[in-house]
């Protein structure tokens, strides 16, 4: 990413990165009864596209005067990911956490986050991941931009700030497009467009010293309780199908390797249909 032409003596940019904590992709499990993702007792991570958005913000901070604020909405267990984000180099984090938010789908989530961003205030740039690995809707980023009435560029892999404007390379289905818009704006970032950095010792010490995460309730932000939570979420998960793995028929060949290797090859050829 290139960020040429920062105006000397300019105010630090305020960059807000929205992240979600998700179950680790490799460990995803669907509860066979409730048909929802198991989230308890499964290792978590920063939603991988959000980590790319965070890295894009930190690259910006490496070259510009910028303040990077990480924002999330969820239970206090999300502090784990917010702490990691600060240890990676973000300046501070805000967690919107309230029981009444439980069960919110992307509609109340976009509303609640946009209210929280308005309360943080003074933002120049909002970065979101293109979608989450646990729901894959890609709704929330554009939803926030809608509520804030801010311009947006989705699915970007590169970002430049030139003369107070944003230029971004957008990944389209049949190629890439370059878009330009004014600040403040919102972008959603492609998964895998960069390599998120590791936490630093300095960052981890900042986390240990404390005071880097702010918790806000809906009341503190001024969020309308009638617009959030399960009952105010129009999406209903009707059914989730899991793909069943084909059955395996293990066989153990024991004895002299000369014979067992031959038996194994025959079995692969005959039962497995593998040409050897």
């Amino acid at each position: 990413m290139t960020v040429p032409g920062a105006a000397p003596g300019a105010q630090p940019m305020r960059v807000i990165v929205c992240i979600k904590q998700v179950p680790k992709a490799q460990e995803l499990q669907v509860d066979p009864v409730t048909q929802t993702l198991k989230r308890v007792g499964v290792p978590s991570e920063i939603n991988p596209p959000d980590a790319n958005a965070l890295e894009m913000a930190l690259l910006l901070k490496d070259r510009h005067e910028a303040e990077v604020i990480v924002l999330s909405m969820g239970p206090t267990s999300f502090d784990e990911s917010l702490e990691r984000a600060v240890a990676m180099g973000a300046d501070r984090a805000v967690l919107l956490t309230d029981r009444i938010l439980g069960g919110s789908d992307t509609v109340p989530t976009a509303y609640a986050l946009s209210e929280t961003i308005a309360k943080i205030g003074g933002y120049d740039l909002i970065l979101c991941g293109e979608e989450t690995t646990d729901a894959s809707t890609g709704h929330v980023g554009p939803g926030i931009a809608g509520h804030l009435d801010a311009p947006q560029i989705t699915y970007i892999s590169e970002l430049q700030i030139v003369d107070g404007k944003v230029r971004a390379r957008r990944t389209a289905e049949d190629g890439t497009e370059w878009w330009e818009t004014t600040l403040p704006c919102l972008v959603t970032v492609n998964f895998g467009c960069n390599t998120p950095r590791e936490p630093t010792l300095t960052g981890k010490i900042r986390v240990k010293r404390g005071g880097v995460i702010t918790h806000w309730s809906c009341a503190e932000v001024g969020i309308d309780p009638k617009k959030v939570g399960l009952i105010n979420s129009p999406t209903i998960v009707a059914k989730v199908d899991t793909v069943k793995l084909p059955p395996r028929s293990p066989k153990v060949f024991s004895g002299d390797p000369k014979d067992t290797v031959r038996q194994l090859i025959d079995a692969l050829r005959v039962d497995g249909g593998i040409l050897l």
Binding site: T200, L201, K208
Partner: protein
């Protein structure tokens, strides 16, 4: 602005956590950095800890220390191809108070001791590998993780373990030589607590320790060990890496043979191997010690080579804890004397001697040399087993007196009476 602490301790093993705990108690703002995800995640040892320095450092340690079992039975066994000769000592006194020893699992023990350091005020950061010391004008000024990630301090305590890169980068020690280290391997074998208690004849909290010689290491310099945990057994070998290389033997093959020995198999039968680990063990005692104090730097634990293997006790963790405490005391003395200069920190030596760490290392300095005597690991155990076989075999063909048997076996093994006597004397002196 770089973050800053009075002292940084690198490595949250027993030495590092003991140092951080001591420093924090003495009012130093202290950073304890560990490369594993949690303290103990990267830790490896045989399985037993002598409690004395812990008893001094955390007087109420027994209250919540994750002890597996208190060792109340000590065993020494000589193995031949399929036979074994064992000496067993048991006394409830072995398991009591300051002089006790206990078996432990590093993942639990190290986490516990690091927590004590945190409670005393130290800042623990995990998952960070310190790349180098931050030096300016020949003086240590902190640590580097990356060029733009450094933390400043007046003192760095290196407690990184046997393969410490920082002691080498600090110029305190040359690269490790094969003759300076042994290779340790260990399997953790799961068995129900009741089975362990029944099989070893132990009470619910009691444990057994075994040292194996002879065929355990196929005659190579080194030996085997077995410790009983609550619901697992630690079984492993420590073997000279020089001998392994020379004889082109893979240590995992040795471990398999050791595990399959009938007298070992009897003890672990039915168990499930849950964990396999390997580690380098500093082996030359005081002979391989790096410089342990410099301008703004101290070295503690395995990184300093503080390990004693005198043939009947393997000591590492107790010396590590004691040296960590001594490092904290040296820092306090240096602060009182005006700063963390090499001259002021040389008080470290005095505090180590006050705990007999250096004294014990020097006392057993000759032990490793004696251990270089291959007859001890190969010939004598075999002789011992052959003697035992003859002593205990009654088949009506007439019996010899014990001394005659010993001398006859020695002479048929090509060892003169004088040689035998000299080895005995050398052995007794160095042990």
């Amino acid at each position: 602005m770089a973050e800053r602490f009075d002292a940084i301790v690198v490595g949250a093993g027993p030495a590092g956590s003991a140092a951080a705990l001591t420093l924090a108690r003495k009012g130093f703002s202290t950073l304890l950095v560990e490369r594993g995800r949690t303290p103990g995640a990267k830790g490896m040892f045989g399985g037993r800890i002598y409690a004395w320095p812990l008893h001094d450092l955390v007087p109420d340690w027994a209250k919540d220390c994750p002890v597996e079992r208190f060792v109340t039975r000590e065993n020494m066994a000589f193995l031949a191809e399929d036979a074994s000769l064992a000496v067993s000592f048991d006394s409830p006194k072995l398991g009591q108070g300051r002089a006790s020893s206990f078996t432990a699992l590093r993942a639990k023990f190290d986490a516990w001791l690091a927590k004590k350091a945190e409670e005393a005020g130290a800042t623990l950061v995990t998952g960070i590998l310190v790349d180098d010391l931050w030096r300016e004008d020949g003086r240590v000024k902190g640590v580097f993780v990356a060029p733009n990630d450094r933390v400043a301090s007046d003192l760095v305590v290196i407690a990184e373990g046997a393969t410490s890169t920082l002691v080498r980068r600090a110029g305190l020690k040359a690269d490790l030589e094969p003759r300076e280290v042994s290779v340790g391997v260990k399997e953790t074998i799961e068995l129900p607590p009741e089975t362990i208690q029944e099989r070893f004849g132990l009470g619910e909290k009691d444990g057994a320790a075994f040292i194996y010689a002879g065929q355990a290491s196929m005659g190579l310099r080194g030996g085997g060990f077995l410790y009983t945990n609550k619901s697992s057994i630690s079984l492993g070998l420590v073997v000279s890496s020089e001998d392994l290389a020379q004889r082109k033997i893979e240590i995992q093959d040795l471990q398999t043979r050791f595990r399959m020995h009938p007298s070992v198999q009897r003890l672990i039968h039915g168990g499930k191997v849950a964990e396999y680990s390997a580690h380098l063990v500093p082996e030359l005692g005081a002979g391989m010690m790096p410089r342990i104090a410099g301008d703004g730097v101290l070295v503690a634990g395995d990184a300093a080579g503080f390990l004693i293997n005198n043939g009947y006790t393997f000591r590492g963790v107790d010396l590590a804890i004691a040296s960590g405490v001594a490092a904290g005391e040296a820092a306090e003395a240096a602060r009182a004397a005006g700063g963390m200069s090499a001259a002021n920190l040389s008080a470290y030596d005095r505090f180590l001697r006050a705990r007999n760490v250096l004294t014990d290392l020097e006392r057993f300095r000759r032990a490793p040399l004696y251990m270089k005597n291959e007859r001890l690991f190969d010939l004598y155990p075999r002789m011992l087993l052959e003697i035992a076989e003859r002593v205990y075999t009654v088949n009506g063909s007439g019996k010899d007196r014990l001394l005659d048997i010993v001398l006859e076996e020695a002479s048929s093994a090509g060892v003169s009476k004088l040689r035998l006597l000299m080895d005995l004397l050398q052995g007794a002196r160095s042990m």
